[in-house]
Amino acid sequence: MNRKAAWHGLWPWLCAASVALSLLLLGLLLTLLLTRGLGHFWPAPLEAVTLTSGETFAGEVIREAELPDRSGQERLYFIGNRDNSAQDSHGTRFRWVSLDTILKREAPAQLVRLSRSPWGDFIGQLEAFEHSGQRLEDNAAWQALSQALAQPKNARPNARLTLRPLNGEAFIQPLAEVYRASRPNAMSWLSKVRYWADGVGRFLSQGPRAANTGGGVWPAIFGTVVMVIVMSVIVMPFGVLAAIYLNEIAQQHRFTRLVRIGVRNLAGVPSIVYGVFGLGAFVYGIGATVDEWFFSASLPSPTFGTGGLLWASLTLSLLTLPVVIVATEEGLARIPDAQREGAVALGATRLETLTRVVLPMAAPAMLTALILAVARAAGEVAPLMLVGVAKLAPQVPVDATFPYLHLERKFMHLGYHLFDTAFHGDSVQAAIPLVYATALLLVLIVLVLNLTAIFLRHYLRRKRATT
């Protein structure tokens, strides 16, 4: 009996540990994303490594691991310089080095890191800066380069740089292909912070480069936002109308209850099923018919008969419809009948009662519904893979040519961009830091939206309780 009682005292600890474990997992996930996602933009120190073989190279330390074949450790360096033909690992940007082959590690201040457009990063020495016959060397060259890069892109001088990798021949690099330069080993703490903030800014405001291993996610952010806006414009009226019908007009019969359960369960239908419906019914069904009728000139290349912004938005509206209906209805149901009766007793019609009393009071609930729908849509990827998301959209869906909003165009989406970069890029290893940053951005957007909705709901309940 006593022993049994002791066990009874212990089992609840497993329960407490479950809560702790769940919170821990969530915390670990967020910490991982935060450190890796934001850490990527921090200017990492560069090393000049001399090997026992006499070879020298420069790179950034990524991580260490155990040697696969014998005891000891090896270290992974990011060395960049894909265009350096002297590099034996030509074409790759990473290099594993066994620790016992390293003779010397230094951190010379003059090591530069350049971000370039066709060949990716360069790590090495800046020998000279040539502009209109003038040749500047070493520190003067670095200063000239910094000044040139501080200008807007089209105002930069048409200069040429002479670059020398530690393990190769010097070569000429046109300035036009360089968009960022740093000397991380020579940077003060403050300038590192500035460089970091600048990097985050570029990530948010620029397009992807070099097969998604560089640049930013601006088109994906833009595409996601446009898609979510179009979706909201479609889903909100219908969701709110349906909620009003269910709560204010329909007689509370068995049928209404059935419809309500049906709507609730629709929220549990897998998102991929909506994608299938979107592809079959919207793209192949309606889209193909629209093409036949209005865009027959450009057939067989489809206009609306292929995935695009409109179909993606429509599909996600269907997906988020239950979210909107349930949240709105909850808000409507919480308004006391006395308010409706008060308006009606003053001679208000049903419409006037709705627009002047009920809907204003339900506005925060509708806002909550919108936020939840947007959060759901922003994180959803599976249906979009079927109905119109693109790896790299040549054109954004909004531009200055009529009709400004191009509903038939494919668009980029943060979640799909993440999936595609992490799984289908040609250099996943090099793209991983940016994938972390993208994942962090996505999680932050979705979590902030959800927290806002939770706060709104909580606030509403408290407000109702006090009056």
Binding site: W13, C15, L26, I244, R264, G280, A281, G415, F419
Partner: protein
């Protein structure tokens, strides 16, 4: 003196606007209902050609997918049910309501993390690590939960007043972190001492187990992470709806808290917990991105936790964009989606009905005592 038209409308426009608005609302609602029905009808209509296909080819393909789907869901639930139900028991029965209302939204945040992010972490970061440190990973799965019991023993021996049990969720976090670190430190030593070589090497060479980097174990953990909050929230609701008077009655008869839980709370909330698990199963069956990214997507039938699977949802996501419209594959995949649709719809309806029934029963119980 009294004109007979006193109650006739003075403002026909208001009346007209009202009727128009009512009509618009009804039309909106009907449109929503029609859209819902359209999904079902579309799936049904476009999977009809499957009936004309030769049976063996259908069953062969679908069996693999169904197996994969069930396997993924099973491993998910294996991880998610214990964690979610235990967490629900703790927050519903051991925490003061105020604290419970703080923790619940925090746990529900787990569900908000997009599947594509969870899939990325699991498939690209976790899976390769586990492949290289299999012994450590297994130790991490086993040791920290066991260490919670140890924490309980220590606590009972020391009975510290500053660490009350209802705050255990908080100070168990550093404890678990420390124990996890301990497991990571000790596992390679044990592995070396007991086996002399890598555990995965032993599995593959001596036991003949195939090991895929992205396997059912990874899927189970990753999808478990996504499914836990859903099960937890509903189970927590069901358990906290159990009237306090019922439990106090049992405790007055001399049952301790754990016995009360087993004999009174769990049976009373049983249907609610059942519906929570159903909802979780529905979610696990339909989740696409996590499976797509964290499993090998190899179409094979195997029960091994170290091999992957291909689920219906993943197959649809991969194959449908490439299938020509109205081709055999197209119809077959739509049929698979229909199966998914019907399954989740039925499971969710069942769960909802059970939940509502239980709720009214418990309300009556609470009111009656």
């Amino acid at each position: 003196m009294i004109s007979p038209s006193r109650l006739r409308t003075a403002q026909p426009r208001r009346q007209f606007q009202d009727r128009l608005a009512t009509a618009i609302i009804v039309v909106g609602a009907v449109a929503v209902l029609a859209a819902i029905l359209a999904i079902g009808i579309f799936l049904l209509w476009h999977s009809l050609p499957v009936l004309a296909m030769p049976l063996p080819s259908i069953t062969q393909k679908l069996t693999v997918l169904a197996w994969g789907t069930l396997k993924a869901a099973l491993f998910t639930l294996l991880f998610a049910i214990p964690v979610a139900l235990c967490a629900a028991v703790y927050t519903a029965l051991y925490l003061p309501p105020r604290m419970r209302h703080r923790i619940k939204p925090a746990l529900e945040m787990m569900e908000a993390v997009p599947g594509v992010v969870v899939g990325f972490i699991a498939g690209v970061i976790l899976a390769p690590w586990v492949e290289q440190h299999l012994a450590s990973a297994l130790a991490l799965l086993v040791w920290p939960p066991a260490s919670a019991l140890l924490a309980g023993l220590v606590w009972q021996a020391l009975a510290p007043r500053r660490l009350p049990f209802n705050q255990a969720w908080l100070w168990l976090i550093p404890w678990l972190l420390a124990m996890g670190w301990l497991a990571l430190w000790a596992a390679p030593l044990f592995e070396h001492y007991l086996l002399g070589v890598d555990l995965r090497y032993v599995l593959e060479t001596r036991l003949g187990v195939d090991y895929a980097t992205r396997n059912a174990m990874i899927v189970g953990i990753a999808m478990g992470f996504a499914v836990v909050p859903g099960i937890y929230a509903l189970a927590d609701d069901a358990l906290s709806d159990v009237p306090a008077s019922l439990m106090e009655g049992a405790q007055a008869l001399g049952a301790d808290r754990w016995q009360t839980l087993w004999r009174v709370a769990l049976p009373a909330a049983g249907p609610g917990i059942f519906s929570a698990v159903l909802i979780g199963a529905g979610r696990a069956v339909g989740e696409t991105m996590i499976v797509l990214m964290a499993s090998s997507n190899a179409a094979l039938i195997s029960a091994s936790p170290f091999e992957g699977m291909r689920t219906i949802a993943a197959a649809v996501a991969i194959e449908l964009p490439e299938a020509a419209p109205m081709s055999t594959t197209y119809h077959l995949l739509i049929f698979a989606a229909l199966v998914l649709f019907l399954f989740t719809f039925l499971v969710n309806t069942l769960a909802e009905v059970v939940r509502l029934r239980l709720r009214s029963r418990l309300l009556r119980l609470g009111g009656g005592v």
